[in-house]
């Protein structure tokens, strides 16, 4: 891998950081390597929005090559949404462009005294005033930056007004609406007065053994092009599973309180493909093209929503109009909101209004009645302006619940709102949400797909019933390890190539001789390191839980009557992980077995 550019916004000094070789071998890259690099800085007394808080953009060893769906990069920091490990990866072209400029990452520290744009043009690094960009939405910012710089096509990662205002659901956006959405990385960027990072590179992305890499990635792309999942994602987008998830009862409705809804399938990828879809979009060198281009009543071709947004602003709010969701998606993009967090928080507001916890006096006179699209749109604007009730909406579901004495009603784990895969329909997600290092998350493990059959035998994974309990705990842990590998490479989860192919790509790109078992151990190491970071920040077993609304059975639909036995599942999970059953820390023995004795000394200090 190449060096990491370090930028101190307080002193306006730049430098290069060489990643120690053994870190690259142990953690590969991306999120796991970021955890290793930031470990010593992420301590309980650190304010995530302070100048001292680091913000790390990092690629992986496959990022930006012509491999199978490897256009992603990751952003990591202490999360202002959760107070825990923050991590959010993003597709598009920005990460590959950074590697072409000669850097594998950018480590930001300090705080600028005015809004700035960071320009990385090969080895030319420059901070420019961005005062004229402050307040602009991400799309307008990208257009202005491209125009101002006059360098032709540049790749821009930027924040919107939400990030500027340090809202914990503020995102970082790049390219044509690709988003690092979760854990408030945009707020961290905003706290540093860093409006955008523009990148232009003229080099090539390095791999250790180019000839063998080219052969393997060519074969991998051919396999991927012919894969069923690729064809499904091409034709239907990320909402391709919508019909089936609705049938299984794993598609949440009415703030996770209803099992069925007439017309819920109108937000599925299949319906969208037959109605508003007019094209597709891709990330760097991707043969899948899961991105949607749609045309709605305004006639403009624009970014189409993906599954989470379709459900979040659809059945989750008792709505089913894909065109409306498209408009809300654009609105959230322009404010710079994470669509999962804001739609989940709005559904909590509806639920609290329905049960009488809040009234029109709290909502600035609005009646919050399920299915009222006009009110939903008004609430997004309120959150964007942070006026009145909007101030609480912008802080997320946990904060909104706390404000009105109803934190238990918020469908969140450790401060991150639950995405739209109900663990009562696919029980593996119960463990995934409870143990994810960044709060409730479907991108540390997409076990909802494993629960319907996407289990690779070559990894030693088994297929369990979607309503199985503790017996699937070890399988979930193994799946998390595998996806931790993906998040370190950084490779898209949709890259459905055989595991051995992934290992061959790594070996060829990094000049190693890993086996599948070696790579799985690397994933396990990354998972345990993030856990250790969180343990040092105060997280323990009491944090590993599901919110109350997910522990109540649904009355109808494909998940009716089922509630995951999360306590039994966690007990089995801790055993499988080698974690202490009392405090939930990785045991000293486990850490030492993973070569992490230096972490064991922090978590288990000798008297």
């Amino acid at each position: 891998m190449q060096s990491v550019l370090t930028v101190n916004l307080s002193t306006k000094k730049f430098d290069e950081y060489q990643i120690p070789p053994d870190w690259k071998k142990d953690y590969l890259g991306g999120a796991s390597l970021a955890a290793r690099m930031l470990y010593q800085d992420l301590v309980p007394e650190l304010d995530p929005l302070s100048p001292e808080a680091p913000l790390l953009f990092l690629n992986g060893p496959l990022s930006g090559t012509s491999g199978p769906a490897v256009g992603r990069f990751v952003v990591c920091a202490l999360s202002p949404a959760t107070g825990l490990w923050g991590e959010s990866n993003c597709g598009g072209f920005w990460g590959p462009e950074l590697r072409k400029a000669g850097y594998d990452g950018i480590l930001i520290s300090g705080k600028s005294d005015e809004p700035v744009l960071l320009l990385v043009h090969d080895d030319h690094i420059e901070l420019q005033s961005a005062s004229h960009l402050w307040g602009l939405d991400p799309y307008a910012t990208i257009e202005n930056v491209e125009s101002d710089l006059g360098l032709g096509r540049v790749r821009v990662a930027t924040i919107g007004p939400a990030g500027e205002a340090r809202v914990p659901m503020g995102v970082i956006m790049c390219d044509h609406g690709r988003v690092a959405g979760r854990t408030g990385m945009g707020a961290v960027m905003g706290s540093k007065n860093l409006k955008a990072i523009a990148v232009k590179g003229s080099g090539t992305v390095p791999v250790s053994n180019k000839d063998s890499y080219d052969l393997i990635r060519s074969k991998a792309n051919r396999v991927l092009r012919q894969d069923n999942m690729t064809r499904v994602l091409q034709e239907l987008g990320t909402a391709s599973g919508g019909d089936y998830f609705n049938y299984l009862g794993s598609m949440p409705k009415k703030g996770f309180s209803a099992g069925q809804m007439e017309g819920a399938d109108l937000v599925s990828g299949s319906t969208m493909a037959e109605t508003i879809l007019v094209g597709v979009s891709t990330c760097h060198a991707c043969v899948i093209a899961c991105g949607r281009v749609v045309q709605i009543e305004n006639g403009k071709k624009q970014k189409g929503p993906e599954y989470e947004t379709l459900v979040g602003f659809g059945p989750n709010l008792w709505l089913n109009d894909a065109a409306f969701v498209t408009r809300m998606n654009d609105l959230c993009d322009r404010y710079g909101f994470d669509t999962i967090s804001i739609s989940n928080t709005i559904s909590l507001a509806f639920a609290l209004f329905e049960n009488g916890t809040i009234t029109k006096q709290d909502t600035d006179g609005l009646d919050l009645i399920w299915g009222d699209a006009e009110v939903v749109e008004m609430l997004v604007h309120l959150a964007g302006s942070r006026d009145g009730f909007g101030e609480y909406l912008a802080l997320g579901a946990r904060a909104l619940g706390r404000r009105f004495g109803a934190e238990d009603e918020a469908v969140q784990v450790n401060g991150l709102e639950v995405p739209y895969h109900d663990p009562r329909g696919v029980s593996g997600m119960a463990l995934v949400y409870a143990t994810s290092p960044r709060g409730a998350c479907h991108n540390q493990s997409d076990y909802f797909l494993a629960d319907i059959g996407q289990v690779e035998e070559d990894l030693g994974l088994n297929f369990f019933d979607r309503h199985a309990g503790a017996e699937k705990a070890a399988n979930v842990a193994k799946h998390q390890d595998w996806r931790t590998v993906f998040n370190s490479l950084v490779i898209c989860f949709f890259s459905n190539v055989p595991p051995q192919t992934v290992v061959d790509l790594i070996n060829s790109a990094t000049d190693n001789n890993f086996s599948i078992a070696d790579i799985m151990e690397s994933g396990e190491r990354g998972w345990n390191l993030k856990r250790a970071i969180n343990n040092r920040l105060g997280l323990n077993r009491t944090n590993d839980k599901l919110p109350k609304p997910l522990l109540q059975p649904l009355q109808d639909g494909g998940a009716a009557g089922f509630v995951p036995d999360i306590v039994a599942m966690l007990d089995a999970y801790y055993t499988a992980r080698g974690w202490d059953p009392e405090n939930g820390f990785p045991s000293k023995e486990k850490l030492i077995s993973l070569g992490m004795g230096w972490v064991a000394a922090d978590l288990w200090p000798e008297n």
């Binding site: 064809r231 089936y244 049938y247 059959g453 297929f463 459905n496 055989p498």
Partner: protein, 137 residues
């Protein structure tokens, strides 16, 4: 007579099963589409075998084993090795797992397929229930 997969008897028995199974008829009531199954050589199967099955609103209108080289068009083509299909029919490999891990290839409208996953899975159940034996057993 033992019903062996893959064979002419197997596909004829499947037709009878689909036309008499109430659960399948209920779940598949909206399905419209014919399918060709390509059983690719592997293990004890040395030559490719194809079945043509015409499914329509919960009934099976036609089910035959195609002769070698016989051409037939269909809305969907499902392709898998004999070994993997045998594992599916024995219940050792879940059909969704096979589709999601490159062991069973689907050609045809993915929009239609994704809307009808429960129909496909119940169809597989019927296939499993009629299969009594496998080649070489």
């Amino acid at each position: 007579m033992t019903i062996v997969f893959p064979s002419e008897e197997w596909v004829l028995t499947l037709k009878e099963k689909l036309n008499s199974d109430e659960q399948y008829q209920r779940i598949a009531k909206n399905w419209e589409g014919d399918i060709i199954y390509v059983v690719e050589p592997s293990g004890v199967l040395e030559e490719e075998i194809k079945f043509y099955i015409d499914l329509w609103h919960g009934t099976c209108r036609k089910a035959i084993m195609l002769k070698p080289g016989e051409q037939q068009e269909a809305a969907f083509v499902l392709r898998a090795s004999y070994d993997n299909l045998a594992r599916i029919l024995k219940g050792d490999l879940d059909p969704m797992q096979a589709m999601l891990t490159r062991k069973l290839k689907v050609e045809g409208s993915m929009i239609y397929m994704m809307r009808n996953v429960p129909t496909v899975l119940d169809y597989v159940r019927c296939c499993q229930e009629i299969t009594e034996s496998f080649l070489g057993e």
